[in-house]
Every structure is written in C-alpha cells, then in structure tokens.
C-alpha cells in the first residue's frame, strides 16, 4: 500500500475527513467521500495533513507547475483567502459576463487560405526537431515525481 495512504488509515478519521473526492481524479491517494467545507479549509486541511494534499497534487498535474515549498502553498492559501471576499457580493439573478463585447457578433472571416507554407520559419524556434516534426519525450498519464 502506498506509504501515504497507510498513514491515513492509521490516524483518526476526523482529522483527514474533510475532502471531497471526485471519481475522475486519478491520484495515488484515496480519500473517503466527505462533506466539503470552505475551499480555504479544504486546502488548509490538505496542507496540515501529513499525507500531503491531494489538492496540490491534482493542481500540479493540471498546471504542470510544481509549487511544493511552504512558501508556494502559503501563497496559494492567501490567494484563496483574498478571492473569498467575492462571496460577500449578492449575485442572485445576475448572468455571468464572458466579454464586454457580448452584444456584438464576433467577426468570422471567409474560410479561405490566406497564409501558410512557413514550415521552416516555424521550425526555427523549436529546439528538438526531426525533419518536419517537433520531437517530444514519450508521454505517460501521471507526472513522474523526481524529488
């Protein structure tokens, strides 16, 4: 069993049971389904729990940006705290606004090829390439943790 999960099931249930687990989230740590408290609590719980925060794991996977040090987590916690002020505003009956130009139709041009044939130009900026291909290392689903 994953060392992190074994810790989980040993400690009292209440100190971990504050996370909502979506079935689609593939992580190496499983949490029992529980109530969700405020987003900040959620994150803080994740930070405090010694098993590590599945929220941060998930975020790192999505964002492909690692931010594991305490400073990074603190920054995120502050950002959430700041954003929580939004909940003071009453937005009943208000439609979300995507764009200030929502009353207009976006311009769509004719489906004609007007430019292109610039393969060499575009390949110039890539570091690894073979003939006309961009070269990437093999892809896998989960992020390999190097630390």
């Amino acid at each position: 069993m994953d060392p992190d999960t074994s810790l989980l099931f040993q400690a009292p249930f209440s100190s971990y049971c504050k996370h909502f687990c979506s079935l689609e989230v593939i992580t190496s740590i499983c949490f029992p389904r529980c109530e969700v408290h405020t987003a900040q609590e959620q994150l803080c719980e994740g930070v405090r729990s010694p098993s590590g925060s599945w929220v941060l794991d998930h975020l790192e996977q999505l964002a492909l940006v690692d931010f594991r040090d305490a400073e990074g987590v603190e920054r995120l916690r502050k950002a959430i705290q700041f954003a929580d002020q939004l909940h003071e505003v009453n937005t009943d009956g208000v439609e979300p606004m995507d764009s200030v130009l929502e009353d207009r139709c976006l311009y769509l041009r004719e489906d004609d090829v007007t430019e292109g044939n610039c393969t060499n130009e575009l390949l110039k900026n890539a570091r690894e390439k073979v003939e006309e291909y961009f070269v990437a290392p093999p892809g896998i689903v989960l992020l390999i943790k190097t630390s």
Binding site: F20, S22, V36, A39, L43, V55, H58, L59, E60, Q61, L62, A63, L64, V65, D66, F67, G72, R75, L76, K78, A79, I80, F82, A83, Q85, L86, H87, E88, V89, T91, V94, E95, P96, M97, D98, S99, V100, L101, R104, L106, Y107, L108, R109, C118, E121, L122, K124, N125, A126, R127, E128, F134, A136, P137, P138, G139, I140, L143, I144, T146
Partner: protein
C-alpha cells in the same frame, strides 16, 4: 529636439530641419547614455538605422508615408516583432525570435515609424512595478531629475544616491521610462489592470488605454484575453491621438476587434468643456489614497466647475470588489494562456526528457518566475470543477455588476469620470520590494482596474508634482468607443495644468549592479 512633441518633430522632418537618420542617431545616443534606467531589453540599432534611411529617402522624394514617418518609437517586449527577440522579460522566451509582427507593430512600421527597440516590463506583464522581469527592474527617470533631487533629503552623508531611485510602476514601465526620458516619441504598452496608466502616472507621461475591441491584439502575447488592450504612451494628449489614429480599426486576424469603421480624428485646438458632465465616483476615494492626490483631485474638479462643466458626485458601488474579481478572472485566464508554453514548439525547453509531462513541468519551472507560477496555480485552483461555480462564475457575475455600475452612471448623463490614477507617487525600489507582487498589484491596481473590467477607455494625464518632486497623474474614464470625447477632455485638462518638463541631470556615477543586467540585453 528630442524634447519636442511627436507633431512638432514630424513637422521638423517634413520641413527638413532634421533628417530621420539624425533623429534616430540622437535617440540611440541618448538611449546609450541612459542605459542605467534599464528601460530597454533589446535595442534594434541596425534595423532602426535602416528604417531611418528608408524614411529619409521618402522625405527627399517628398513622399512621406504620414505623420509617423521617421519617428522613433519603442514597443513593449510582449508584442511580437519579426526578426527581433521577444522575451516578455521571461526565461521562457529568452532567445525567441518571432516570425511575425504584431498587427499594431506592423501598422506603425507601415506608417514609416522607426522601431528603436523592445522595452522592459514585469515578467509576462504581471506586476505593478516593472521590477519582476528577468532583466532587472526599470528605474524611473524622475529619480534622476532635479525636481526629485532637490526635494529628497539624504539620510546620511554616505548614502549612495543610487539606492534612492524610485520605480516606474508597471507593468509597461520600460515604455513609460523610454518616453519620459526622451529616447523615443511614443511607445506601445499593454493594459490589463492598469499596466499602461500606472507607469504613465509615475513617469509623468500620457497613458491611454483604448476601448476593448478598438485596437487589435493580434501579436500581443496574451495575459487576460477578455481585458487586454494595447496601450499608448506619449508625452502629450495630441500625440496619443495621432498614434491612436494609426492603430485603431478592425483587424481580420483578431476577431475581438469591432467591425465599425474607425475614423482617425484631430483634437480641437481650444477644447470646450462647458457643456460636459463630469462624474466624481466617491468609491475612488480609496483607503490609502495620499492626501496630496486627494487635494489634486479636488482641485481638478474645481477647474472643471469653474469652466462651466457640471461636476457631480456619482457612485460605483461595486468598485471595491473589482480587484478581487480581477484576481480570480486574471489568474484563471492566465492559467489557460500560459499552458501554451511547454518547450516543444518555441521558447525554453528543459533538458529533462523522462516523459512529456516531466519535460513540460521542468520547462515551466525553469522558465517561469514565482509570480507567474503562483498565478497559474491559483488560476487552476479556481477552475477546478468543485470551485468553478463558486469562484470563476461568481467572478464573472461580479464583473457584470461592475460593468453595469458604469453603464448606469453614463446612462444618467455623465460624460466623463474623473478619478486619481494611483494611490501615491512612485515609491523607492527598496520599499517597493518589501511586499510581494500580488499584494502590490492588489494595492496599486485598485483605481485603474475597473475600467478594464468594463472595457472602457481611460487615460492618465500628468497633473502635478508631489511634495517629493515626483509626478502625479489623474485619470479620465470615458464611454465605450468615445475616445474623441475622452481625449478632448484630457487635452483641455492638460492645457490647464501645464505639467512641468522633467529636468534630467547627468548621472555622474553608475552603480555596478546595473551593468550586470546589461549582459542579458542584446543588440541586434
């Protein structure tokens, strides 16, 4: 000659008092002697001189392309420029040579403008001080002005005058510093939360944020697609109108530009404001607003009143939520926009090659600084399924409330809003870096942000010098696509206040650490 306005120097070129190559050389020389300001990341000396030569040929034939022909300009380094490095002040794009010109850059070049170089900024335009780029912070030219030096009291005899320098504001600090120090006649910036108006206020120049949808964003490396606009920095309002005239209009490559026909306009020589209604939003009397700026704001309102305009207090009740709303929407859009930087097709690429994901993650860790990564992480957090409704959608709803506030006020007959641009004059760099980027941005964008939320045009006009001898500006916010009215009012105000010209003193000693950053700047 370099202190002249765009219009004046253009006339001088046409009359043959100066040639484009002379002008270009003089600007380049001044640029070299003001390198310590760190306003430019890349100086395109060769191409600029070539462009100047072409312009000279056109003037000799008597066929200049327009008012901008031969005029040296600078462009913020988040606009793509073909053949010239575009870095966004980030390691991610160091060495990236763009294959195309941004539409606005192309338009300027088509008019014959001479592109001197790319200016410094906060990394990926995230910040309000122009201090967080990898090429180092930009220094406000006013730090070296007689006006500032006369007012600053050295704390000790041994204090290095270098440690006293003040920031330019951000994120278009390099562009503002370039215009303010006379190395160019106009510069392009970008404005997402106040990034053009904030440094304009701190550097004593005119900063125009046009209506969203008026100027093409094609080629502007995006931060927040629904709020970004290219900004214009000049030394006077007339010049801003000239540059706006050559940039505005529909672009088939940017479908968010409106299709209405744009007619370039000239501002009246003697603007009349007596028939206007000026609104003073009371919520802009924000906590932390310096008493100097408050007094200046009040004096400005009186100026309009005495000229016969109707000046009324108005309310924009959701103002204080605009910065929170911006925080959520900005980080969410940033999370999406920064996803394109993976090292595969362009930009920095890590040597890590165990797997695609680990290569991406390593590339992004190496390429982005803390600020960018922090925003990406926050943005992804707000976009998580369980948070989407509570944060992202909620923020979009609050955005509509903010936009509606403005609609209501303009609908009640108010033509222009008059507000301060910043809470105080420029702070010294040593003080600025005591707080982190997010806190500073939240503090500094408070007065400029709402205009981006609602997509409205806004302009900073330098109004007076503070007690410390530094510029303070005031902001005018207008109705959508009513730039002509906005600029007319701004011009009238500019004539009234007669903001003093900066008296730049020659800097006798250069600090050693300034030259460290010059290693990374490239001359092409």
């Amino acid at each position: 000659m370099l202190r002249a306005s765009l219009r004046e120097v253009s006339a001088a070129l046409r009359e043959g008092h100066v040639t484009p190559t002379e002008l270009c050389q003089r600007c380049l020389a001044l640029l070299k002697s003001t390198r310590f300001l760190n306003a430019y990341i890349t100086v395109a000396e060769e191409t600029a001189l070539k462009q100047a030569e072409e312009s000279e040929k056109r003037y000799k034939r008597g066929q200049p392309l327009g008012v901008l022909d031969g005029i040296p300009i600078a462009v913020k380094d988040n606009f793509n420029t073909a053949g010239i490095e575009t870095t966004c002040a980030s390691n991610m794009l160091k060495g990236y040579i763009s294959p195309y010109n941004a539409t606005v850059v192309q338009k300027l070049l088509d008019q014959g403008a001479v592109l001197l170089g790319k200016t410094n900024l906060d990394e990926f335009a995230m910040g309000s001080g122009s201090t967080d780029g990898v090429f180092g912070p930009v220094r406000n030219p006013w730090s070296y002005s007689r006006q500032y030096k006369e007012k600053s009291v050295p704390k000790s005899l041994s204090e290095d005058e270098e440690s006293n320098w003040v920031i330019t504001g951000g994120s278009s600090g390099g562009s503002a510093a370039a215009v303010s120090s006379f190395t160019c006649f106009a510069a392009l910036g970008s404005d997402t939360g106040g990034s053009t108006r904030n440094p304009a206020a701190h550097c004593g120049v005119v900063g125009l944020k046009p209506t969203y949808g008026l100027i093409s964003r094609h080629g502007l490396i995006p931060l927040v697609n629904s709020m970004d606009v290219p900004g214009i920095l000049t030394r006077c309002v007339d010049d801003a109108a000239i540059v706006l005239g050559s940039l505005a209009g529909h672009d088939p490559k940017d479908s968010t530009t409106i299709q209405d026909n744009f007619k370039p306009f000239e501002l009246p020589n003697l603007p009349d404001v007596s028939k206007l209604s000026i609104g003073i939003p009371k919520e802009y009397h924000a906590p932390g607003l310096s008493s100097e700026i408050l007094a200046l704001w009040s004096k400005a309102a009186d100026l309009f009143k005495n000229a016969g305009a109707q000046v009324t207090e108005v309310s924009l009740p959701h103002t204080r939520y605009s910065i929170v709303c911006y925080h959520v929407l900005c980080t969410a859009e940033v999370a999406s926009n920064m996803a394109r930087f993976d090292g595969l097709e362009y930009g920095h690429r890590s040597d890590m090659n165990k797997s695609t994901e680990s290569m991406y993650a390593a590339t992004r860790r190496e390429g982005f600084n803390d600020v960018v990564r922090g925003r990406i992480l926050s943005g992804n957090y707000f976009l998580l399924k369980q948070n989407y409704e509570n944060y992202f959608i909620k923020a979009q709803k609050v955005r509509r409330l903010i936009a509606n506030d403005f609609l209501k006020v303009f609908g009640s007959g108010v033509d222009i809003l008059l507000t301060p641009t910043t809470l105080s004059d420029a702070v010294p760099y040593m003080e600025f870096i005591k707080e982190d980027n997010r806190t500073r941005s939240a503090q500094d964008d408070i007065l400029t942000q709402a205009a981006n939320m609602a997509g409205l045009p806004a302009i900073n006009v330098p109004a007076a010098l503070s007690e410390r001898g530094l510029p303070i500006g005031l902001q005018f916010i207008g109705r959508s696509f009513q730039e002509k009215q906005l600029l007319t009012v701004a011009k009238w105000f500019e004539k009234q206040v007669k903001f003093p010209m900066i008296q730049l003193e020659e800097v006798k000693r250069h600090s050693h650490d300034v030259f460290q950053h010059q290693k990374s700047a490239s001359f092409s």
